[in-house]
Amino acid sequence: MKNKANPGTFAKIMKRVRGHWLLLAVSILCAAANVFLALYIPVVNGRAIDYIIGEGRVDLPAVIDTLTVVCVCAGLAAAAQWVMNICNNRMTFEIVRDLRNDALRKIEILPLSYLDSHPHGEIVSRVIADVDQFADGLLMGFSQLFSGILTILGTLVVMFSVNWQIALLVVFITPLSLFVASFIARHTFDMFKLQSETRGEQTAYMEEMIGNSEVVKAFSYEKQSLEKFDEINERVKKYSLRATFYSSLTNPGTRFVNNLVYAAVALAGALSALRGRLSVGQLTAFLSYANQYTKPFNEISGVITEFQNALACAGRIFELIEAEPQTPEPEDAVVLGEAGGSVDVDHVWFSYVPDQKLIEDFSISVKPGQRVAIVGPTGCGKTTIINLLMRFYDVDKGAIQVTGHDIREVTRRSLRENYGMVLQETWLKNGTIRENLCMGKPDASEEEMIAAAKAAHAHSFIRRLPQGYDTPITESGGGLSQGQKQLLCITRVMLCLPPMLILDEATSSIDTRTEILIQNAFARMMEGRTSFIVAHRLSTIRTADIILVMRDGHIVEQGNHEQLLAKNGFYAEIYNAQFME
């Protein structure tokens, strides 16, 4: 079997299957029993037919005996099949469950650089869709591959033992059906590809036009847009007709080959019967084999396609599971207690991509309780600083120290416990308000939680929600306004109140009143704490102890408000444009 997937993939799958060897053994045993019985039944039926020769020449007791055997065999075969199915289900679903758990466990320890550079949709589709596809392939493989191969072998054995000439005939004709099927499959593959590409193009186009209908309407663009749509639609129709029609040829084609086999067996069988080399019962058995014999071939070719697909999916999953995790913590990592709050950035160099320099030789010394404002136009890379402080990314050169410890030498957990972070992009998890608020302190009491919510001005609106603190919210925040979501995020930090803060001031989309509440909450939190603030507001900037001015990812100026104004550089320029028009 040829496939593009890494050859190691198959070995990795087998390693996981091996963990369920008992189920696998039972499954194979049952498959063998089932196949044996299923092949035996037509033989017995044929024997019964042979006891029914004609008027007055029927051996009734013998007929009854053989038919009893048939019924017992059928019952056993059915039971074996059921047990096999259950074993296969269990094996597949447990393997798949473990794969998903492993994938998520890996996601939790992947470096941010991996997660930021891979589209989330793609990772999700590996964990969900690819694993599902893999499960389908595995299940099909387990349930059809063994029994298919055994059926073919068994049929051959029985046919050759009954009459080798006819058996030979069957063996020579059947590959024709495989040939027909694979011929069609090979030719339709390109048409399916073309169909799905054109469909993709059409969907993208519709997404654009329907998703932005206000623009289409505003410029009265409907007619042109429909014309272009029709052009793509015609192509979709053309390719779709081809793909649908050609792929639907497989069934008539293979059925015809089967019919040929059937006719050939009937002919050869009947002629041998004339010469007394075959009984009528044996002929019926042969005919029923001829009917069944080709089926496993078609099934196996289906399994192989499916299995190749499953291998490709498995390859993608293993790629995720085996991705390089974040730098492990050193054995003797220090557990940072309640940090004093001094942060020293010492000649730090950093960039996301090697050939695109960003932070170059950046040093700053922040004393406990000081405020650092980070300012600059949108998209200037202010979040880079957050990434480095929280150790979402490691610096390339230099070091960041918190209360005298290099942050690479302390545990990530204890470092992050010392920071409270509120990002502008508010993120809430699926769950209740309570679960969201208590993320940083799962054992918080009701009183503590309410006190934090009051301090963050969130209590009054939470109280008015349908189920108060137990109201479920979704990731996108459902009915909550942007400002309310921000207040929830602030409460979350307020509840654990660590010694250092990272705050991201909202720019727009929050109404003035809520913004004032948020400002109040921020101010209350910052009292006596070392804080880093991505700042947009003049008051925050002016009162900061240190201002970092950023532009295009670089830190261009550093100092306090007066110093920077006096310098009359980039800071002065944005300050004047914004506030002094």
């Binding site: 623009v215 749509f229 019967a273 004032i516």
Partner: protein
């Protein structure tokens, strides 16, 4: 469903010929067991080689004709199904474009896209299979039974009992498992949500050291999913063993009964074989039929959903006036607006007018109704009370194209379409020449970066304009609106991604470009509107102020509050304590 299938009329010929050829093919298939019986009873019993050879050739010929008929049927079915799908896509797309903005918003883009993609595909698959198999499978099942009747009436009664029994098992298991499979799917959706949450919220989850809790939640969800899968698996694993047992028991009974009849000379050996063969044809077809029912009912459900959209009315009457001269350019005459399905008014009694060449600023917090004011002007929504007038004429009296040709709108979300810069600008005016486009780009502060782009005006624009930064996209959408040299230019919070300097330059350039153009600037920033001729201050859907910056600073507390929050000179937060709830 009547109207949806009326689109099939175009393909009436195909829709009739498809099933017809399929039935012809099935009839040939039903003849095979009779030919086999003839071989046994006449050929073998009568030792007539000629008959055996003739019958075998007959079977091969029947197979060949069957294949040709079947291929013909597949072609017609595919043509009808693909054709209907293409027609439906065209109808649906053009219908969606004709829906009023308000209707389309209520339904939602993703719903509309699902209808036009996967729902239509579902209908195509359903129709294709229905044309091919809906008649064929029952035809074979009942045909086999009827053929059995022609062989022997009493023996056929065994069929009468077996068929309902098989149907009961197959459809009974389906009925039990279908809702269970839905539950499995919803559990999988839950896993998907959790996976995505772990990616989108990775920073917050790590900041709060919540990785292990997230993993535990996922694992328990995964376990529940696995259990559910196994539960359904155990039930549906019964289908094959049970039907297998029934069919074998029925065959045994048939042979036994056949033995009795043959003994008294009522049946021949060959006829018994024919009856057994008919029995085995039934099972395969019933299982096919069960799968078909699933596909068809999915297709029907999709068809219903498509139908619902097609039946929606556009929601706006269209008249054809062109406007008067010598009147105010834009007037709101005691306008109120309640959105469809909304409980409360979004705008209440808004009253103002703007002359030609004037600039109107609209300011207010989130949800204050700024965008609603904008939506009424190009008639994306109709006012529920009062009237909106452009050039002295109610916007409802205009043809939408005439009205929208007067307006250049720059929506909040900066959207570009796949194509080139030129094709995007020409959306606004297909006849715009190079000079006009460069002029628009110059005013929109976009000339610089477009000149630097390879290809200039012909530089490629990716879908949604993803290859441009947020600020560049905004400036290009402004240039697009300016390309049509509108009477009214509406900037709906269109400068949010621009730094303050660029924003200021932009406003200056717009004002200088065309002294007669009326400009409406919507913003959250006082800096963006303070030099407007008049500023409309909105709060909770009401106009709480209308006047110049200086007037409003004196008379309008809400305006002053917004201004103070952005320009306040005193220490952050403390001065605002009085505004708490």
């Amino acid at each position: 469903m009547k109207t949806l299938f009326s689109y099939l009329k175009k393909y009436r010929k195909e829709a009739i010929l498809g099933p017809l050829f399929k039935l012809l093919e099935a009839s040939f298939e039903l003849l095979i067991p009779l030919v086999v019986a003839n071989i046994i009873d006449v050929g073998i019993a009568g030792a007539d080689e000629g008959i055996i050879i003739r019958d075998a050739v007959l079977m091969a010929a029947l197979g060949l004709i069957g294949m040709l008929f079947s291929i013909t049927a597949q072609y017609f079915s595919a043509k009808a199904a693909v054709g209907l799908a293409a027609t439906l896509r065209h109808e649906l797309f053009s219908h969606i474009q004709s829906l009023s903005y308000s209707k389309a918003q209520t339904i939602g883009t993703s719903t509309l896209l699902t209808r036009i993609t996967s729902d239509i595909n579902q209908v195509q698959t359903g129709l294709n299979l229905a044309l091919r198999l809906l008649l064929r499978s029952p035809f074979i099942v009942f045909g086999a039974m009827i053929m059995a009747f022609t062989v022997n009436v009493k023996a056929a009664l065994i069929f009468v009992v077996t068929i309902p029994l098989l149907a009961l098992v197959i459809f009974g298991i389906m009925k039990v498992t279908t809702p269970l499979y839905k539950k499995v799917q919803s559990k999988l959706d839950g896993l998907l949500r959790m996976t995505r949450q772990n990616l989108t919220g990775v920073r917050v989850i790590r900041a709060f050291n919540n990785e292990e809790k997230e993993l535990a939640d996922f694992e328990s969800g995964n376990e529940a999913y696995t259990q559910m899968q196994q539960h359904v698996g155990r039930i549906s694993a019964l289908m094959n063993p049970l039907t297998y047992m029934i069919i074998n028991a029925a065959t045994a009974v048939l042979i036994y009964y056949g033995a009795l009849r043959v003994n008294v000379g009522e049946l021949t050996q060959g006829q018994v074989v024919a009856l057994v063969n008919y029995m085995s044809q039934i099972l395969v077809e019933l299982i096919k039929f069960a799968n078909l029912i699933v596909t068809i009912s999915k297709g029907m459900a999709s068809a219903g959903r498509i139908q619902d959209i097609l039946q929606m009315e556009s929601g706006m009457d269209i008249l054809e006036k062109t406007g008067k001269s010598g009147t105010a350019c834009l007037e709101f005459d005691h306008v109120s607006l309640t959105y469809p399905n909304a409980g409360a008014e979004s705008l209440t009694d808004i009253h103002f007018s703007v002359g030609h060449g004037e600039t109107l600023g609209v300011i207010g917090g989130t949800g204050s109704g700024k965008s609603s004011v904008v939506n009424l002007i190009p008639r994306f929504f109709d006012a529920t009370a009062g009237s909106v007038r452009v050039d002295g004429e109610d916007v409802r009296e205009y043809g939408p194209e005439v009205l929208r040709a007067k307006i250049g709108i720059v929506p909040q979300k900066a959207v570009l379409f796949k194509g080139t810069i030129r094709s995007n600008l020409q959306m606004a005016d297909p006849d715009a020449d190079e000079a006009a486009m460069w002029e628009a780009l110059r005013i929109a502060q976009a000339e610089g970066f477009v000149r630097e782009k390879k290809g200039g005006l012909d530089a490629e624009v990716a879908q949604e304009g993803r290859n441009f930064s947020g600020g560049q996209r905004q400036r290009l959408t402004i240039a697009r609106a300016l390309t049509r040299r509108p009477e009214i230019l509406i900037l709906d919070d269109s400068a949010s991604a621009l730094d303050y300097m660029t924003d200021a330059n932009l406003r200056r350039a717009i004002r200088q470009a065309d002294p007669d153009m009326t400009v409406v600037i919507v913003s959250q920033r006082t800096a963006s509107v303070r030099f407007a001729d008049r500023i409309l201050v909105l709060d909770d859907g009401r106009a709480v102020g209308l006047g110049t910056h200086d007037e409003l600073m004196k008379s309008c507390p809400v305006y002053r509050e917004i201004y103070d929050s952005q320009f306040r000179k005193e220490n952050g937060g403390k001065g605002a304590a009085g505004h708490e709830e």
